[in-house]
């Protein structure tokens, strides 16, 4: 069992590194893409480990519920607080106290840096879904720290 502080620090260090490597290009830059693709790879690996002995999922919604409950609990020690869907392939996952943002000030001071702290997790979700046979695009937005919303758009094959 690795300690959680360790992951937090490592995650932070990864962000710092990628940022420096991309010459401090902020939002919408290659930095986010890079972090996201790292998360994607990790998500793929994690889901393989987690679903070793779970029964097959019935449908898309079942998969999403799994992500919100079990997957989120194993990674962030809590469940997603709110899951909404339009039943046409768009899901909104709301986490009112997202663990990777809790170390940042809850005010507006670091709002501009928040996307960097979410990119890895977007990839994590996308990678997880991809290995469960669901192709998706995952984006995140923060309106008030430390709450955030992940939007999952399912891509029809």
């Amino acid at each position: 069992m690795a300690d959680e502080a360790l992951f937090q620090f490592l995650h932070h260090e990864v962000i710092q590194y990628v940022n420096a490597a991309e010459n401090g290009e902020t939002e919408n830059g290659r930095c986010i893409t890079k972090l996201e693709s790292m998360g994607f790879r990790v998500g793929q690996g994690l889901i393989e480990r987690f679903t070793k002995d779970t029964p097959r999922f019935k449908d898309e919604l079942d998969v999403m519920k799994f992500i919100c409950k079990d997957f989120w609990t194993s990674v962030f020690k809590k469940q997603i607080d709110n899951l909404r869907t339009n039943h046409q392939g768009i899901y909104v996952l709301q986490d009112n106290k997202f663990r990777l943002l809790t170390q940042l000030s809850a005010g507006k001071q670091y709002l501009e840096h928040a996307p960097k702290y979410l990119a890895f997790t977007c990839g994590l979700v996308r990678g997880g879904l991809s290995n469960l046979g669901v192709k998706s695009v995952v984006t995140a937005e923060v309106s008030a720290m430390p709450a955030c919303k992940f939007q999952v758009m399912i891509q029809k094959m």
């Binding site: 300690d3 959680e4 620090f9 260090e13 710092q16 994690l46």
Partner: protein, 180 residues
Amino acid sequence: MSRQSNRTTDSKKMNSELFTLTYGALVTQLCKDYENDEEVNKQLDKMGYNIGVRLIEDFLARSSVGRCHDFRETADVIAKVAFKMYLGITPSVTNWSPAGDEFSLILESNPLVDFVELPDNHSTLVYSNLLCGVLRGALEMVQMAVDVRFAQDTLRGDNVTEIRMKFIKRIEENLPVGDE
């Protein structure tokens, strides 16, 4: 659905696979970004150092370990308290130098390398080099300059993973002029 990850509800503990895989993703990225393994090793050490500098705060706050009086005590705290707390393993402390300024940490299992195989073209990569940086950074914050390196690594075919630590000097605290 019973899953092994639901073993503990201790909020301080988390799934170590996440950490291991994330670390793997980082090393992979570094190998892409840099031409040679030496550079990757250097970067990992640097990042480890940054983590160590912060981690020591967390460690001292949570473990209530006081100041160590000698290097032997330091070795014990690192092996029995710190490694246990953060990686869940307890390395053994061996191979003391006669002067008592050098020792080895023997890790029978290294959580960082759970899913790793080194390809042949990365023979000089010290995969877990982050750990060296962490140890160096953390000890520097408690006024100890140490030299940390991997002497053996199971990834490279050795029987055990061995981290060699050498005490260099005690860092003097320089108070700014005029500070009481």
